[in-house]
């Protein structure tokens, strides 16, 4: 079984990491500038609507992490390579982080805008909650399973979970009776004001790139852990 060579370096000391971090930091700074100084307050909700830009970005980052998790899981079961298992581990952990942020920021936004932090009549809240439970299960399984068996177990659960994501998203949309609380701004061709639109896409890109950067770093750290365990055995 061929294994790629595992770099024995601190990921924080590589040049590529420095460049990527600076770029992501600059992107986020620009997004924050747009969110706080360029776009106006939304007319019915006021300032709290500005959470929207990073809230939706976190949701995109969560889905990107779920996709990486699927690639890592399938890849690991097919090729049995450590770096694919590390990708799965990294994606599940970062997915849990961003999914938690989506839920918490969404609840805060809901509480201030509609005086309702959570509702089971709202499909997207329910599907995000299910996805969050899945990420929790994956991270917990990684913690509780033996080191040798965890990769295959997590890959199996990761694939099952990734299969369930679209099913959950589509099925909960039909829960009866649906009273749509969640704004469907983008699907309904909203964000007509140009500054809203620009800020929306810049902020989304910034948060997703931050998520991918985290996955990359965590992936490198996981590989270092494997190497360190090898040396200690």
């Amino acid at each position: 079984m061929s294994q790629p060579s595992i770099p024995n370096t601190n990921p924080f000391k590589s040049e590529l990491f420095t460049v990527a971090t600076v770029l992501v930091a600059a992107w986020i700074t620009y997004a924050m500038h747009l969110v706080f100084t360029v776009v106006p307050n939304e007319v019915t909700m006021g300032a709290v609507q500005r959470i929207f830009y990073f809230h939706v970005g976190s949701a995109f980052a969560t889905y990107a992490a779920a996709f990486c998790m699927l690639i890592g899981s399938l890849g690991f079961l097919a090729l049995k390579q450590n770096h694919l298992d590390s990708l799965q581990l990294a994606a599940a952990e970062v997915g849990l982080l961003f999914c938690s942020l989506v839920l918490i920021t969404g609840m805060i936004w809901g509480q201030f805008a509609w005086n309702l932090a959570f509702s089971f009549r709202e499909p997207r809240l329910v599907s995000t909650l299910v996805l969050w439970l899945l990420f929790v299960a994956l991270v917990a399984l990684r913690k509780f399973a033996d080191r040798e068996q965890a990769p295959a177990f997590c890959a199996v659960l990761g694939i099952l979970g990734a299969i369930m994501v679209p099913v959950v998203v589509f099925s909960v949309k039909l829960l009866s009776p649906i009273a749509q609380l969640h704004p469907v701004v983008v699907e309904h061709g909203g964000l007509r004001e140009a500054t809203f639109r620009t800020t929306f896409w810049v902020a989304n890109g910034a948060v997703v790139s931050m998520g991918l950067l985290f996955i990359w770093i965590r992936h490198r750290i996981a590989l270092l852990e494997i190497r360190s365990n090898e040396q200690n055995i």
Binding site: L77, D146, L160, M164
Partner: protein, 233 residues
């Protein structure tokens, strides 16, 4: 070839049921836990002073949650018996096909869960003062309970092989299966709540999900079983 696998599967299924019938531990544990939980939950519903209509709407969700909690906390034990007694090791050494192992386990868990589900669907509505709404008394109710038990059994059988070798053991099954089973739970509540609209859709969700779980279980079960030794790093 196919007939051979089916024969092996049938023998394993019979063995599991005969052992369970002699011991009677799992079914007894599920039923006792079901009664205990039903008492607490129905007491809460009476305490809240809910009207008969509200209790009718609440009954399916409560019955299914009792089933989920009790069944998932017990079926993990099934695989632990095999793991600890060395029976699984023997079956693997005898080259028993993984599909036969998986399907026989699903069938055995399905039977036990289905019986427990029928008990849960009778006890809780009775304690809520509504024995007439028990799923046991209608064909569609029984079919719905059978569908949900099959989903529980197919994900439970796969992931119980995982939890049998995880430090925290069978109780961890609830954490792993819950995010996967929630859409099935929603569909079951919709069907059992007796609202006519969208019934066909929810039936499709129940049996469609069962098919997905079974197919995914058959595909992924070998990975959970075969990986019993450490991967070369």
């Amino acid at each position: 070839m196919f007939n051979d696998k089916l024969r092996v599967c049938w023998r394993l299924f019979r063995k599991d049921l005969v052992i369970e019938a002699r011991r009677g531990e799992l079914l007894a544990m599920i039923v006792i836990a079901t009664i205990g939980l039903s008492v607490i939950l129905s007491y809460g519903a009476w305490l809240a002073g809910l009207s008969e209509n509200q209790r009718i709407l609440l009954a399916p969700a409560l019955s299914l949650s009792v089933l989920l909690i009790t069944a998932l906390s017990v079926i993990g034990k099934f695989s632990e018996y095999d793991e600890q007694s060395g029976a699984l090791e023997g079956l693997l050494m005898a080259d028993v096909p993984s599909e036969a192992l998986y399907l026989s386990r699903v069938a055995a868990i399905w039977v036990i869960t289905f019986v427990a589900a029928l008990v849960a669907s009778l006890i809780l509505p009775t304690l809520l003062g509504l024995p007439q709404v028990a799923a046991l008394f209608t064909v569609s109710g029984i079919a719905c309970v059978a569908g949900i038990s099959l989903g529980l059994a197919s994900t439970g059988a796969l992931l119980a092989s995982v939890t049998a070798r995880v430090r925290v053991g069978g109780i961890f099954l609830l954490t792993l299966v819950l995010p996967l089973i929630i859409p099935l739970f929603f569909a079951g509540c919709e069907v059992l709540s007796g609202q006519e609209s969208g019934h066909d859709f929810w039936w499709t969700v129940i049996w469609g999900l069962d098919a997905i779980y079974l197919a995914a279980g058959l595909w992924l079960h070998p990975y959970v079983l075969v990986n019993r030794t450490a991967l070369p790093l």
